[in-house]
């Protein structure tokens, strides 16, 4: 049995299609990533799977329960950490947990025991009597994750779990998430627009853009699909270098950026010597040269023709449009 099955899931706001015919299955125990820029439809997908939004059409089930016909069972099966904070700052960490436990009708004894266990897991046990408003961003995130686990969900939804956190805290959180997946065998579905995060945590990744999945697979497979390595050369005469290199055989693509030239080609290690020799013979100075294997960033570029940052701007535009439509 799959932990989550999604079939042709679609959500429209007015005439704007936020999610367009998504289909995928998630295995039990898997960490599944939805990767894409802001406004790509990740959060909308999460909202539908967590029964917060009704899909316009399509079907989905979570833990075997249909999201339309069996809302309460779906809700009982999932834990969720929202993109925006959802703690009560005027209550202590313990009280926030306790509130959650009561909402999910856990018996007093079990509630108490699990709250302590989970607060220990996220290393907040010694601060459990402090008001949440005194917590830092990272502590709040950890508390939210602990809270999401309190009723022992089968599936944990993490919507941009590390957004706005400093790199150190982010690494720390990644460790927690890995630990959860390893020790509790819990199915995790997470959205992110950090390539690194998806790469590090997820067994499989769906790249989602403008409401549709454009690629799906393990991070290694997605990178293989790109098929080329990338050479990056910093040079003061990059135009000259560009015209020289572009005539060489085996070059898949070549682009000029602010201070550098990126060349996509197969077996970059073999060709790099030729490029250097040629630049030397034509008196083109080379500041530095580096070869790297494709990252998820390149994967995104490969499948969409845009970098994720270029996409951010237009994604925000879409969000604005969506908000207007929803009013």
């Amino acid at each position: 049995m799959f932990a989550i099955t999604v079939e042709n899931l679609t959500k429209e706001f007015g005439n704007f299609t936020a999610v367009n015919g998504l289909s995928f299955n998630i295995e039990q125990g898997e960490v599944f990533g939805l990767l894409g820029p802001n406004g790509a439809g990740k959060t909308t997908t999460m909202s539908m799977l967590s029964t917060m939004l009704k899909p316009s059409c399509g079907k989905a089930s979570v833990n075997g329960y249909d999201i339309l016909n069996n809302e309460d069972e779906v809700r009982r099966s999932i834990g969720i950490v929202f993109q925006d904070q959802s703690l009560d700052e005027e209550l202590t960490a313990y009280e926030n947990m306790d509130f959650h436990g009561r909402l999910y009708r856990l018996d007093k004894g079990i509630r108490k025991k699990r709250i302590i266990e989970l607060l220990e897991l996220v290393e907040l046990a010694d601060k459990k009597e402090n008001l949440v408003k005194t917590y830092s961003g990272g502590m709040r995130r950890r508390l939210e994750i602990a809270r999401g686990l309190l009723h022992e969900p089968k599936v944990l939804f993490l919507d941009e779990p590390t957004l706005g956190l400093d790199p150190q805290t982010r690494n720390h959180l990644w460790d927690y998430i890995e630990k959860l997946s390893r020790e509790k065998g819990i199915t995790i579905i997470l959205t992110t627009h950090y390539m690194e995060e998806a790469d590090k945590l997820c067994n499989r990744i769906a790249i989602i853009d403008k409401g549709s999945i454009i690629a799906l697979g393990t991070s290694d497979k997605l990178k293989k699909d790109v098929g080329v390595d990338i050479i990056k050369i910093v040079s003061s005469e990059k135009e000259k270098l560009w015209s020289a290199v572009s005539s060489m055989p085996g070059i898949k693509n070549i682009e000029i950026h602010d201070d550098s030239l990126t060349i996509g080609l197969k077996d970059a290690e073999k060709h790099v010597v030729k490029i250097i020799n040629m630049a030397y013979s034509r008196d083109i100075p080379i500041g530095s040269i580096s070869i790297h294997k494709p990252t998820l960033e390149d994967v995104f570029l490969h499948f969409t023709g845009r970098t994720i940052r270029e996409e951010e701007a237009s994604g925000k535009e879409q969000m604005r449009m969506m908000r207007r439509l929803r009013r």
Binding site: M52, L53, F82, S86, D88, H100, R147
Partner: protein, 249 residues
């Protein structure tokens, strides 16, 4: 029941912790009681009012403080919406009705506490309560005002996205409800059109009910007050829960 209690408990914890809000919302009623009560006591003579004008307005001021506290308590869910906490409640496997009722009873409880504080203060200002059952009657009316107007606040908050409209609601809805309620003046001798307005104002029946309970006299039959206010409470809880059900975030 557990869920309603859980949400009620959270409201009470927040209320007790926020001392500044507790004190802040006492300011206006106390101010009115002192200024109007002492200021007009010697000028205004009401026939049949043994306790003078100050005795007359004390039930009005108590209603005012219950009214404002309960509307605020209802509107508070806008904060929950903005700060995200509402999501945590809405995604749990509980019905919206339970959440709404918990919020309503929580708000009503804080409002009644606030009204009781004013009541205790007015004992020091010379209020003499007619009888113990009378006091119980006053409490019942305070509870009804609390429940109906918290539900009213929730209904408003369900339709609002942020606090921008808050001032508008206070100035054009809450103050008129208070002003027209006969909290500060007797309604018997008013011109007909003003009198009709006061009789349309649900708070009038709350004020009169409390007045009957505390002073033993009122201008409207307390039984009618009770029936009208109960009816209003039921309608408000229905409207509030209906609109709350439709919130999407």
């Amino acid at each position: 029941m557990d869920i309603i209690y859980t949400i009620w408990l959270r409201n009470l914890k927040r209320y007790i912790r926020s001392k500044s809000r507790l004190l802040g919302s006492l300011g206006m009623p106390i101010f009115l009681m002192l200024v109007l009560g002492y200021g007009l006591n010697s000028v205004v003579v009401l026939p049949g009012m043994e306790q003078g004008y100050i005795g007359f307005i004390i039930p009005g001021i108590i209603s005012m403080s219950v009214l404002f506290t309960s509307v605020f308590a209802g509107i508070q869910i806008i904060w929950d919406k903005q700060f995200g906490f509402l999501k945590e409640t809405l995604v749990a496997p509980v019905s919206r009705l339970e959440i709404m009722l918990g919020q309503t009873f929580g708000g009503a409880t804080t409002a009644v506490i606030q009204g009781l504080i004013i009541f205790v203060l007015s004992l020091f200002m010379g209020l003499k309560v007619s009888s113990i059952p009378g006091f119980a009657i006053a409490i019942v009316f305070m509870i009804l005002i609390g429940i109906s107007f918290t539900a009213f606040g929730i209904a408003i908050a369900s339709r609002m996205d942020d606090m921008h409209g808050f001032q508008l609601i206070i100035n054009f809805v809450i103050f008129p409800i208070f002003g027209l309620s006969g909290a500060l003046f007797p309604i018997d001798d008013l011109p007909l059109w003003v009198r009709s307005l006061t009789l349309l104002d649900p708070l009038t029946y709350g004020v009169e009910g409390i007045r009957y309970g505390l002073l033993g006299t009122s201008q409207i039959d307390p039984l009618i007050c009770f029936m009208v206010l109960s009816g209003f409470t039921v309608v408000m809880v229905m409207i509030g829960s209906h609109l709350f059900r439709k919130i999407s975030i």
